[in-house]
Subunit: 390 residues, 2 copies
Amino acid sequence: MDNFSYCSPTRYVFGKGVESQTGELTARMGCRKVLVVYGGGSARRSGLLDRVTDSLRAAGVDWVELGGIQPNPTDDRVYEGIDLCRREGVDGVLAVGGGSVIDTAKAVAGGVPYDGDFWDFWAGKAVMEIALPVGVVLTIPAAGSEGSGNSVITKLDGMHKISLRTDMALRPRFAVMNPELTFTLPPYQTASGIADMMAHIMERYFTTTDEVETTDRVAEGVLKAIITEAPRVMADPCNYQARANIMWAGTLAHNGICGCGRKEDWSSHGLEHELSALYGVTHGAGLAVVFPAWMTFMASCQPGKIAQFGRRVFNIENSGNDRTDALAAVKCLKEFFKSIGLPVTLGELGIDNPDIPLLVSKFHEDKGLPFGPYHPLYPADTEAIYRLML
Amino acid sequence: MDNFSYCSPTRYVFGKGVESQTGELTARMGCRKVLVVYGGGSARRSGLLDRVTDSLRAAGVDWVELGGIQPNPTDDRVYEGIDLCRREGVDGVLAVGGGSVIDTAKAVAGGVPYDGDFWDFWAGKAVMEIALPVGVVLTIPAAGSEGSGNSVITKLDGMHKISLRTDMALRPRFAVMNPELTFTLPPYQTASGIADMMAHIMERYFTTTDEVETTDRVAEGVLKAIITEAPRVMADPCNYQARANIMWAGTLAHNGICGCGRKEDWSSHGLEHELSALYGVTHGAGLAVVFPAWMTFMASCQPGKIAQFGRRVFNIENSGNDRTDALAAVKCLKEFFKSIGLPVTLGELGIDNPDIPLLVSKFHEDKGLPFGPYHPLYPADTEAIYRLML
C-alpha cells in the first residue's frame, strides 16, 4: 500500500424527494445567486428544473441559467458560463444533470475566479486552488462527478478531450441524489452509465501496487453490487431499490474510496476519450468496447490483477494460470456488457472505419509517451489495443 | 434502501512518516494553540509525542498537554481538559492515541464552547452543534473514532458508559495514520482492535432494511479484508502492509460508509458497554464475547442477515436454511476470534461471576426498552443473550 492523502467532503443527500432540499443546501454553502447548469430539455420537461428553482426561491437564492449542455461537453459553453457568472455577480454553481452538466459547472466554477484562460488548468499550465462552490442535483448515475474533484472538457479546437483532477477545489459541496429521477433514462444510457462506473473502479483496481487488500475488497464489493443490480434495472427501469443501489455505487466508484493507497491506471479512459472526441460516441458505451480490449492485451503481459478480478468479481475458479483466468475474466465482462445491451466492438459502437493511426497519435499527444502505470503503453501497444476492438 | 444524508469530511493522511505533517495540518485548521491529549507513557517513551510537538513548533502552533487518559475514558478527565482549555485560551484539540484518547479530546472540544455541563450532550439534554476543531494522530486501529463523529465517555457517578453520535460537530478535521506506529501494540490489544472494527461493521450490517446491496457489499469487503489481514498481523506484528490494511479497514468500519441507507443496530455495543463499565474489560475483547452470543440468539428469531453474513464473508455453503447457516456463521466467527487469541466467553474474559440481573437492568436503563432495530430486545431477551456468553 502506498502513502495517500484522501478527503471526500461532499455531503450526499440521498433518497426519495431530496431535491426539495436543494435550495436550503445551496444557501448553506453561502450562496446568494447561482448559475444553474442543465442539459437538454428533459430536466425542464420533467418538472425537475421547476422544483429545483422553486426550492432556490424558497431559500432566498437567486439564479441565472445555462442550459443545453451536450454530452462530451465543450469549452465554448464553459467560456459562456464564465462570462455569464461574471456579468451577473454569481457566487456559486448548481449543476442539474449528469456528468457533462456537472463537469461544465465545475469548469465554470474554476474559471470565474481565475484571471487567465480557464483552459490553462486542463492544459497543465496552472494549478487550480480555488473555485466557486458547486452543488449537484444528479440525474444520471454514471460519471461519478457528483463525488469527484474532476472535470472532463473537450477543447473544440483540435477536439482534445482532457480530464482535470483536483484534490479539493472542484469537489461538490453537496450532491442531491434521488433515484426516482433516473427512472426515465433510456436503456442505452442506463447501460452506458453502468459501464462507466465499472470502468472507474477498474481503472483503480488494475494496479501494480501490492498489498492493497482493503481497497481491493471495497472495489470488488462495489463491482459485485453493480453486476447484481444492473440486470434488475434493465428489466425494470422503475425499480427504486435497484436504481438506488446503482446510483450509490456510481458515486463510490469515483469519489476516490476505491483508489486509496495505490497507483491508478486510466489508460482505458484515455483510449476512450479519443473515440468520443473523434466519433462522438457515448462515453460509457465506448468504455464497454475499450476495457475488454485493454484487458485482453494485458492478459499477455500483466495478467495478475486481471485474473484476480475474474476470480473475485466473476467467481471464476482459479485454474492456477493467471493468463487463462484473465482471459476468462474478459469473456465474463464482455458477456455482462452484451447482456445489458452494450457494444463490445468498434463496429457495434457504430465506428466502421476507425482511423487507428490518428487515434494512436492523439492518445499519446494527449497522455504522453509511454502512458499507463499498470503496463506502460507505447504506440505499438496502443495500436494493438485499438485493433483488439475491431 | 432508506433515505440518508452522509458526509465524511475528515482528511486521512496515511502512510510512513506522515506524523511529521501534524503541525502543518493543525495550523491549516486555523489553530494557534492546541490541547494535546494522550494516554499512558508509550506515546512519550516511543518519541512520538516529541515528533508531534516538534512538528507543532515548526508550524508555529503552541500547545498544552493532557496526558494519562485511560481506557474506557471517564468524565473527570473531560472536565479537567475543558478547564485547561479555557484557562489557556486553546482553540483546537489534538488527540495522539487510540479511541479513548480521541473520544476524550472530542468531549473536551465539544465542552469548551458550551456554557452548561458537557455531559448534557451525552445525557440527551442538549444537541451539540459546534466544537473546537479536532485533529488526530492515530496509534491504535480499533475504535474508528478518527473518522467518526462519535465519542464514548463513562460517567464515574453510576458508571454509565454512553456514546454520543454527532453528524458533523465531532468529526476530526484530519487523521494522521502511520501504520508503523502500531508495530509495538501488544497482541491482545491488536486482536481486540480487530474485534472492535469488525463489530462496527456488523452493527451496521445486521439490519432489517431491505435491498442495501451496495452498502452490504462494501461492508462484506472490509470484513473480508480484516479476516485476511488479521492472522498476518498477529503472526508478524511488524508487517507494514498487513498493519496498513488493518488500520485503513478500522477507519472504513466506522466512518459511516458501511451504514449508508439503512437502520443500524448497536445492541451488541450496548451489551458490551455494560461489561466494560462494570468489569473494566477491554472493549474489543468484550465484543468478541458479546457478538457471537447476540448472533446465536438472533439465529432463532431473525436469522436472515446472519446467514447472509456467513455465506458471503465466511464462504459458508448455502444450506437453504437460514438458521442453520446463521449458526454456522457464529461458529466461524468464534473460531476466528479464538484464532487471534480473543476470549469468546465471559469466563475467558475474566468475569467468573457476572451479575447478569444488574447488567440487564443497566442496559435497559442506558438504552431504553425495548432496544435494537434488528430485533428489539426486552429484558428476557437481554438476559438470554448474557447467559449465552457463559
